[in-house]
Amino acid sequence: MKVFLWRAAVLVAAILIWEAAAAPLNPILYIRPSSLPGAFVRMWRVPELPPLSEHLWLTLREILVAFGLAIAAGLWLGFLLGLRRSIGRIYEPLLAALYAIPSVVWYPSLMLFFGLGPASKIAFGFLLGFFPIVLAVLAGIRQVPAPLVTVAVSMGARPAAVFRKVMLPAMASTMVGGLRAGLALSVVGVLVGEVLGARSGLGYVINYAYGLLMTAEYGVLVVLVAGAVLAIDGAGALLEARVRRWAG
């Protein structure tokens, strides 16, 4: 209880300090928290900003497609490398080396291939979301106790049953963790793509508001998007906890 009070106090103090610090400064550069509610109301009516719901919907679809592709490719490659040990020993280090590259270096090339439309954002979101999923599947497979598999096979379990009854429970929580990290990175990938160069989508609107120096509106959008991202991640955390309980 005391902890919760302290947390709330920290948040309130941070907002108050920000407000006080920004008050004497240029309101266009230093967005005051108290200017956000007004901007939130204004934002839906100003003709300068493109209609938000369309852009929001486009961004959501980009994220869903990117994440879907990342799941499919990530699970496939993860199981391929994890179950065929000889292939895994050869290609896992190469994959790990790719993971060490700051991902944004790929973006200009993707922009060149796919243009400024949604395709380059989906490709980047896919690329970012793909790695944590592969790595989680590989880590998950390593966690499966080998004796359990041996026992199940020797007792006559079919491969499908071994997979479902032995492997999946043992690797479930790691895999869900990887999926959660993959979703977060897919979201980041799509947003980064939209901010760096796009003609539509939430990132574009954010950039647009900033370009028009409508910084209060920009601030509102940032707070809303950040809140949505945290909410999605929170839902993912709940799901992860549930799976962890199921897998025991």
């Binding site: 902890v3 302290w6 947390r7 920290v10 948040l11 550069l29 230093y30 967005i31 000889s86 020993r89 050869i90 290609y91 280090p93 190469l94 080396a97 060490a100 590259i101 700051p102 991902s103 944004v104 270096v105 790929w106 973006y107 200009p108 090339s109 922009m111 060149l112 291939f113 977060a184 979201v187 980041v188 947003l191 980064v192 901010v195 760096l196 990132g203 954010i206 950039n207 900033y210 910084t215 920009y218 601030g219 940032v222 998007v225 950040a226 991202v229 945290l230 991640d233």
Partner: protein, 247 residues
């Protein structure tokens, strides 16, 4: 399969990939406007080296400054948060939330205040690298076995001795892990800032090559940054292992 065989297969696969790629360009399976052949990329690498190297140096300099900031502040904050229970309980949700928020959202604002130059890129790098370092170090510090400290104290160790002989070796792995992750994030932050609002550096250069449809040069620049990052991360990992032996 022995270690040598694994390396052999890796080299063979990479060489095969380059050959297929060259063949694909050569026989027109892919549009050369978008996918240049490895030979073209190699010659572009030589051709742009003069322009690319100073830009790479610029980017690395910014990344190192931002990284230094992030590691100094991040390790300090991580040690504090990890060692004080109340502080941990109060601050941790905020650290996790700030870590989770896509930092790209704040980049336009940083660029607005700090302009196109060095400080925007450095700040963005520090912002990207700070939170993963804090999380790693805080988690590592929290996991230090308290009985180690109790035993050392009861055996009459001074605070300084406990810090050097007990805490430092116990916390070091997570600090090093944080430093390794921080390096990638710092590079990411700098490149992103340069791509978004830069007029120098590798990120700006790559973005410009993409817009100008100079695919061979772009591939060459991408390869240079990638190889550099992999080399840095691998050498940090190597250092990590050597320090592990010292422990």
């Amino acid at each position: 399969m022995g270690r040598l065989a694994v390396i052999g297969w890796q080299a063979l696969s990479l060489a095969g990939l380059v050959l297929i790629w060259q063949a694909a360009g050569r026989w027109g399976w892919v549009d050369p406007l978008f996918v240049p052949t490895p030979a073209q990329v190699a010659s572009a690498l030589v051709g742009t080296a003069g322009e690319a190297l100073p830009r790479l140096g610029d980017t690395v300099l910014k990344a190192v400054i931002g990284y230094g900031l992030a590691v100094t502040l991040g390790v300090t904050a991580g040690l504090l948060i990890g060692s004080r229970r109340m502080l941990h309980d109060v601050a941790m949700p905020y650290v996790v939330a700030l870590y989770g928020i896509p930092k790209i959202l704040i980049l336009p604002w940083i660029a607005l205040i700090f302009g196109l130059g060095l400080s925007t890129a450095v700040l963005n790098a520090a912002l990207f690298a700070f939170f993963p370092v804090v999380l790693m170090v805080a988690a590592g510090t929290r996991d230090v076995d308290p009985t180690l400290i109790t035993v050392a104290t009861s055996m009459g160790a001074t605070r300084w001795q406990i810090g050097r002989k007990v805490l430092l070796p116990a916390v070091l792995p997570s600090v090093l892990a944080g430093m390794r992750i921080g390096m990638v994030f710092a590079m990411l932050g700098v490149l992103l800032a340069e791509m978004f609002a830069g007029n120098r550096g590798m990120g700006f250069f790559m973005q410009r090559l993409a817009v100008a449809f100079k695919a061979p040069e772009l591939f060459a620049a991408t390869a240079v940054v990638s190889v550099l990052s992999i080399a840095v991360v691998l050498s940090l990992e190597h250092l990590n292992q050597r320090l592990g032996r010292w422990r």
